[in-house]
Amino acid sequence: MTRPSDDQLLAVLVDMVAARTQARRLWNLQRQGRIGTVAPIDGHEATVAATAHALDPSQDWILPQYREPLALQRYGPEVLDHYMLYNVGHPDGSRLPESVRVAPLQISLATQIPHAVGLAWGMTLQDEAGVVVVFFGDGSSSEGDFHEAANLAGVLRAPVILLCMNNQWAISTPLHQQTAAASLADRAVGYGINGVTVDGNDAAAVFDAVDEARKRALAGQGPTLIEACVYRLGAHTTADDPTRYVPPEDLEAARRDDPIERLEKHLVELGLWDDEIRSAVETQALSRIDEATDAAEAHPLRAEALMDHCLSVDSPRMARQRLALLSEAEL
């Protein structure tokens, strides 16, 4: 086990604080009607940021669900830029540059898990180093895709890390109605793969777990299912009203175990963190997201883009539709 260094933990905390700060900005942007529905990251920051820092962006892939982008700074500024393009409804939002080993958000839950297994498998077939981390929720773990993919990963010993963000909720459905399993990591045995549960509010523990799983994968020891236990501190999305179903006392308890506060405390003790640093990080995060938002809003788009990139070459019918679209633009 490689504990993260203090510097690494500091970098993780910076990303966590920035993510939460930016999440608040996103909420307001949505309320102002400047962006579409978004899913707040609150409560997921430690797991996502620490995972990213345990990986090597030059060779390891991340396949997100939809809640992660703000804490993936380690994978480059393009992640946020494209996330904002996505949020303003621009098709370039899901087109990250070739150099960035991050897949677009996945809306069809759990479908990204088979992709991750295929990608990891494809890398080994071509003797490429690297692992694939795929994020998915406790709710998504009920989908058949999770099962089929975990099972195939086991058979292939693919270098993939199945990272289940168990935040106790799938919209309004609490974990105990999602599954009777005592732990989601327990499912690993049914696929002959490694399974671990980690406190997802403990950035160092997550870093360790991912690092360990990554080393196993690179050593040909196959996949790991990591269950990161966290709590969804915010609404499911900007369209959701959690007060309808989240017991206030549970939320209260979860807030007392806030991953940011926990890591801050640790780094304050080490003399690496204080209010001043925090506010500098926040300021910087805000100007960064505001810049990205402005750029996204200014990003041009022709109506004809509707027809692009569906097939490599328009079918005859599409060619007519393209013409019709251009003339209809004049209607």
């Binding site: 939809y66 409804g89 709710g139 989908e143 179903y245 569906c310």
Partner: protein, 336 residues
């Protein structure tokens, strides 16, 4: 074909969503065998509140928040039907019916046929569909063309608040499996007077939403609303545009289609789906089969494009607009 819809509005006006909710309340109170299941249908009342108040009224045994797995929602509905119950399943968005398609197409639709009616698949699958409200990917897809090709299913979709109630009640009572498609844009965007208490609209009867003699626009779901607006607007140009609301795609009201096309001689079919393979093609073909000799010009379809339903900034380009429908109407009328 049934009567032209009344357009009375008044204090007892409901949104389509409220009308759906009323139908669910009414039916569950009427028949104890009805069980509502799906993601977030209980405590949360559904992500759009279509099932609001049901769990409080009918209890957690009859209104069940399932795990997040569309396949088993549809599959368990088959088992519930085998047990003699009447499942009303919600798929949170029609785009995720793909996750359940092996159960819907291979099982729900075939239970009666396979067992020669030993088991009665009195199953209703409700799902919002269609775009125009800036949802994420796969939340807006119109898949009725695909579903219509699955024999053994009925396929019903309302265009008014009153029909939403009346057709949903009929669907739940129908002994065959019904996929009930609720236009997302209509949930809050369509409102109208809705009969309180018992209200049934028979499945398989189209509705003449606008009388007219020059041309008929055939549509279903939210596109009926657009077609009516176009028809109303074109009155100023002295054009008499009929609008036929199909209401159910399966069974399809062949007689209503034939009668209105025979009268008008010209037709436009509107759908929001991908054009190739969409249900509009089935309607055009039906017209060719039923009343080719009445046609004075080729039928024109107004559809989405042959690309996946796009992201927000391209949505308005994708979905048929009033302008595109009006242009199509003019086009079929211009032809000699």
């Amino acid at each position: 074909m049934s009567e032209i819809g009344s357009s009375v509005t008044g204090p007892s006006e409901l949104t389509m969503l409220q009308a759906i909710n009323e139908a669910l309340h009414h039916e569950m109170a009427r028949d104890e065998r009805i069980v509502v299941l799906g993601e977030d249908v209980g405590r949360n009342g559904g992500v759009f509140r279509a099932t609001e108040g049901l769990v409080e009224k009918f209890g957690e045994e009859r209104v069940v928040d399932t795990p997040l797995a569309e396949g088993v929602i549809a599959g368990a509905a088959v088992g519930l039907a085998m047990a003699g119950l009447i499942p009303v399943a919600e798929l949170q968005f029609l785009g995720f019916s793909y996750q359940a398609m092996h159960q819907i197409a291979g099982q729900v639709a075939r239970l009666r046929y396979r067992t020669r009616s030993r088991f009665e698949p009195a199953i209703t699958i409700r799902s919002p569909f269609g775009g125009g409200v800036r949802t994420p990917e796969l939340h807006s897809d119109s898949l009725e063309g695909q579903l219509a090709n699955i024999a053994g299913l009925k396929l019903v979709t309302p265009a008014t608040a009153a029909d939403a109630k009346g057709l949903l009640s009929s669907s739940i009572r129908d002994p065959d499996p019904v996929v009930f498609l609720e236009p997302l844009r209509g949930y809050r965007g369509i409102r109208g007077e809705v009969p309180s208490g018992e209200h049934l609209v028979p499945l398989g009867e189209a509705r003449l939403a606008r009388e007219g003699d020059d041309v008929v626009v055939i549509a279903w779901s939210y596109q009926v609303e657009l077609a009516c607006r176009v028809a109303d607007a074109l009155i100023d140009e002295n054009l008499s545009v009929a609008v036929l609301d199909l209401r159910s795609l399966v069974p399809l009201d062949l007689a209503a289609i034939a009668s209105v096309v025979d009268r008008c001689g010209r037709a436009v079919v509107v759908e929001e789906a991908v054009q190739t393979g969409g249900f509009a093609g089935e309607v055009v073909t039906t017209i060719v089969e039923e009343c080719f000799w009445s046609l004075e010009s080729p039928v024109v379809r107004v559809s989405g494009y042959d690309v996946p339903y796009p992201v927000g900034q391209l949505e308005d380009t994708y979905v048929p607009s009033e302008a595109r429908i009006a242009a199509a109407v003019r086009r079929v009328l211009e032809v000699a």
